[in-house]
Point group: C2
Amino acid sequence: MDVTIKDVARAAGVSASTVSRVLSGNPKISPETQEKVRLVLRNLKYHPHAGARSLVTGSSRTIGLVTSRPGAETFANPFFPEVIRGICSVLEVAGYNLVLSTAQGEANQRKSCLDMLRSRHVDGVILTSSRLGDELIDALVSEGRNFVLIGRPADKAGNLSHPAVYAVNNDNILAAAVATAHLVSGGHRRIAFVTGPQHWVYCYDRLQGYRQGLSQAGLPLDPALVQQGNITQQDGNRAVDRLFSLPEPPTAILAMDDTLALGALEAAQRRGLRVPADLAVAGFNDSPIASWTRPTLTTVRIPVFDLGAMAARMLAGLLDGTHARPHQVILPSEIIIRESTAGN
Amino acid sequence: MDVTIKDVARAAGVSASTVSRVLSGNPKISPETQEKVRLVLRNLKYHPHAGARSLVTGSSRTIGLVTSRPGAETFANPFFPEVIRGICSVLEVAGYNLVLSTAQGEANQRKSCLDMLRSRHVDGVILTSSRLGDELIDALVSEGRNFVLIGRPADKAGNLSHPAVYAVNNDNILAAAVATAHLVSGGHRRIAFVTGPQHWVYCYDRLQGYRQGLSQAGLPLDPALVQQGNITQQDGNRAVDRLFSLPEPPTAILAMDDTLALGALEAAQRRGLRVPADLAVAGFNDSPIASWTRPTLTTVRIPVFDLGAMAARMLAGLLDGTHARPHQVILPSEIIIRESTAGN
DNA sequence: GAACTCATGCCATACGTTTGCACAACCCGT
DNA sequence: ACGGGTTGTGCAAACGTATGGCATGAGTTC
């Protein structure tokens, strides 16, 4: 059997409570006793029982991670491992473990997340993305749970919905507007937008940014130029096919994800279009592939590692009571201009 | 406060033990009582306290994941997210949660892994890779822990070390030998091998496969043609630089990872070499980038998702006592021949 | 109607920890 | 010598759950 705090107490000739206090660094224990207990702790290779501890303290030094992005995207671009790396880099020094939800699908994930909190008693949760009118966020708020969102809490109409929710995000609207402006500055007047499911806030926001970019340039929005699908290469292909069956095809495509941009690039070249001469293409995320395509791909770089690290830092601070700071923080993104839009 | 099993018992007019037995599906409870209790469980939104449960049962329906690969590789290729996807796909239906070790560095990870088992009482562990003479494996074996290795347990000399350890792997030796044979069949006689740190078993194995491939073709092994570094693009660059400062440079390069192959490709082209005419290049892993390079990259495809799923399946079976099957399973890999070796 | 079986559900205990409270020992100033 | 404060340590209760053994009562058999 495992060695318990009582075994240590007996071996050290003190009471269990004393051992517990030594463990928790309680200053009211005399140095000699501390030494004595510490020695025994080491000799007996004592390891605290996290379950028992959480039973009485209510906390488990554990936080949950919900990766509510669609599976295809999750592994197609480096978002997922990068954000985890960022989170771990902070959590390691803060002394928390990370529990992953293994659930797939919206309803399952919502259930799984709430379960981590209610049953497994994780101290808090990080969500890696949000939906318009996200029910999980509603539930977490109404239960008063500690959590940080990577993204932005938005209602069904796309407006900021829970202003008190801790969130870390990049300004997707601005980023898409900047990318659109970049294409405009290349002389483009008919710019298409290829996007994913609009229930994802980040998809929605990037579309808003595109619209904003157009209107700032005084360009009309042609609904036929907005192509929506899932976030796969094949959807990128399809978008190009549809766009080029239009009476007046676009001269530039802004895709809300590199995966889509890749698909668009592929389809364009298969059609014999020269990129960027006949069609400019830009993407989002600066995935490693973006610098290997021919032509290389213009894209918006998102600080994914920092997004994760900041979220973890906020959550850890929140739990330790050391974070009274702003509820929402925006990290800067950066447009990386490469050959696929070198049309100036 | 949370609703406990006693609250349910009181509301249902039964004892706590009865509720517990209903929860665990004990057949000695009459159907009527079961219904009554189930109703109250739902009404009161009861959620079991995992900590308390693990305190008495010793198990936590949780398994740990140790990602002992170097950070650079972890996020450069899709190995990490893919293997997690595979693991989760199985664990979700088996009803386990996944705890990630957040530790970095060998010693920390070893400590963190053992800690998950001893303190957090995870029921088992999956290791995503192994070292020659891996001390973590020794420790796990000597403590009699339940774990599955993705890879192969090897001693300092590279020989199979713990034959009873559950492991799932692809045959890296064979795969590298096949890749080497492919290059040989393209007429190459001077084939270089670019590899990573030899303390990783999979690096070591792929080197063995390369040697084996050479000797099967009756070719000598020239130590100068074996370049070792870390697993980054830059190391791929450097390898080419060194290889082409040799009096007799190679006509083909086999890299043990696509990241290295990418770096090699880049450096070769910067030197004005035509690939594959002047230099053939092949990699490992079939990362998405491999089909976007010019020329596209020949590579060995590893069934990463299946590796994860199989490991999870073995571990879950092991814990439920339903797995008496083989201790070591080998999954097939496949060479994907593309332009970068189209030299026949 | 007694003895016996059997299904059903309760009691008590155990799991390993933390923590409020009590208390013993000591020091200090009077 | 005495009261009043410290300082260090132990006692015991609590956290929420699972489970072996036992009590209860109904049904069965002679």
